[in-house]
Point group: C2
Chain length 346, copies 2
């Protein structure tokens, strides 16, 4: 089947670019001598996670238990969930996973640690734990090396938990003093650290320099416009394309497509995407079910029924809206992969 035969809006990935992005990041991390633990929240596709592991990744990162469930279901056996897992339904699901694979979770409070320990004991499971540090991103995470030290001791003392080390996001050079002091405090307490996990696509060198034992990278898989900026978007490195159809050409300057916010997500609001066939035109707006294109800057005459290939802005949010990813090579459909992690927000 050719791309042109697809019903639209259709989320597609160019396999040549995808394979190149995977290989390049694998090589980068090998050259840096830092293990890679790809974040699958960007793509949510088990087949792509398996490609990343085959390329040398030591395991994967999933942001939610539901994402980890679909990855364990295809046999992936080493997963970091850098998230405080709280509440009975999630703890029960987590322990089922921990019986099938090596599962590591982040904690930043006594309450989270104790909840994990209680459920692990109840279910006869063991869960690996890292302490999340806030090294400047002002989201979750304990606030000082001393707080890591105290929480680490609590974790070491709690049954069912296996203390591994620490994690932060993103890997900034400014985090080094915090990490160094933390590791020194833990060393003095005789608490061994096997994992210092850092992350963020583009921060691989930083992860190495601040002493991480692994680096988590997600958005490199599609090389999205959000990270690299609209000025430097490059169809040769951006693997994801939304195929949309022109449904209306109401005026000489305005073209409307069938891909709106429910296909692309609404974040961030501009520039809404890059049209590969006509990069000179501008997607000036989106309503919920329509894309609005200003074609005044183009000599191309758009026709109702014509298909356009759009590089979405936020590749992870966009992937989360679709059930299927169409894998394409040279304009032909090679496979249709379920985006099995889509909607797994629990």
């Amino acid at each position: 089947m050719y791309i042109s035969e697809l019903d639209t809006p259709a989320l597609t990935v160019d396999l040549d670019i995808l394979e190149r992005n995977i290989a390049q990041m694998a090589t980068l991390c090998q050259n840096l001598d830092i293990p890679l633990r790809p974040h699958t929240k960007t793509h949510k596709v088990p087949q792509i996670a398996q490609m990343q592991i085959e390329a040398g990744a030591q395991g994967i990162t999933c942001q939610k238990v539901g994402e980890a469930e679909v990855m364990v279901a295809v046999g992936i056996d080493d997963i970091l969930i850098p998230y405080n897992i709280v509440g009975k339904p999630k703890l029960e699901r987590l322990m089922q996973l921990a019986k099938q694979a090596t599962i590591t979770v982040a904690v930043d409070s006594d309450i989270t640690a104790r909840g994990l320990s209680e459920q692990a004991q109840k279910d006869g499971a063991t869960i690996q734990v890292v302490v999340e540090m806030d090294t400047g991103s002002k989201r979750c995470g304990v606030q000082s090396p001393q707080a890591v030290q105290a929480l680490a001791q609590t974790i070491v003392d709690l049954p069912g938990l296996d203390f591994q080390g620490v994690m932060t996001y993103p890997s900034r050079l400014e985090a080094k003093p915090f990490i160094d002091e933390t590791l020194e405090l833990l060393r003095k307490d005789g608490i061994s650290v096997s994992m210092v996990s850092g992350g963020g696509t583009g921060s691989e060198v930083n992860s190495k320099q601040i002493g991480c034992t692994e680096t988590r990278s997600g958005s490199y898989i599609y090389e999205g416009m959000q990270r690299i900026g609209p000025e430097t978007v490059n169809p040769e490195t951006c693997a994801l394309r939304m195929i949309v159809t022109v449904v209306s050409t109401p005026t000489a300057n305005r073209v409307i497509t069938d891909g709106g916010m429910k296909a692309f997500t609404s974040y961030p609001p501009t520039p809404y995407g890059y049209i590969i066939e006509q990069p000179e035109v501008k997607i000036y707006g989106m309503s919920v079910e329509h894309g609005h294109i200003d074609v005044s800057g183009s000599s191309h005459r758009f026709q109702v029924g014509e298909q356009l290939s759009v590089i979405p802005v936020h590749q992870g949010m966009t992937s989360n809206l679709h059930d299927e990813l169409v894998a394409v090579r040279n304009g032909q459909v090679e496979a249709i992969w379920p985006i099995a992690g889509r909607g797994k927000v629990k």
Copy 2:
């Protein structure tokens, strides 16, 4: 099951409020003597569409063929799709629907009309058609009464198509001259008009005043913050609530929940939602998987594990992210409805 036992983030609807919103809009339209054709893109739940029909709606509106498919599957037999349906895969699906129910679609170009006619002939189906008018919203739609006249004649002449009339969105009083002139031109041509469809929650009176034969309203179902504005949000009329869990309390001023942009969508960026239990606090940001709350304005002491009920900003975009809607009355779960139209962007 109590709400407090739900895994989170959980999208819930308060049944008392939902039933009241449905009854109030039905009464409003009866009093105005204008038929109501609810837009189901806001909720995407067949059970709610059936409640709207039981309350007197004459049919429903669906924005995409995929939404109409899930509604026809439960026996709803009168559906307007106010959209230009273009391309073979969609036309084939549309004609299958048209054999099972009365399906009306909008067109604003010869190309769309001819595509519909060809497929209708091929499949032995008949499709009802209205011409979409652009009466000021600058999206799809023909630009003048004369353009309606010409396209209407084309539709009347094409086999397989049954011309019904015109549609616009939203119903503005300024549209009356356009509509009046159009109807006069069609009358002179001897083309009979049985449908003048207007829409927009809050525009019911306008629809009546500009001569519509029906009014399409969607967002009234949940009475969302986006329409009424953050200042006037009222938990007694807003039916949708996202239950989230506090997963981190890293500092005295900051609380993090497990509901981020993948649960709430990112549009519009502020104010991100209204917390029913603590309306004095502010959701100041969301990352993809976390909600960020500034609690400096509250004396309440938030705890990891605590649940919060958030009224989302954009109810239709939020519903489109979730597989299930939990129907709740007095804090107890009465039903779990599949959001069968979720992700139906084709």
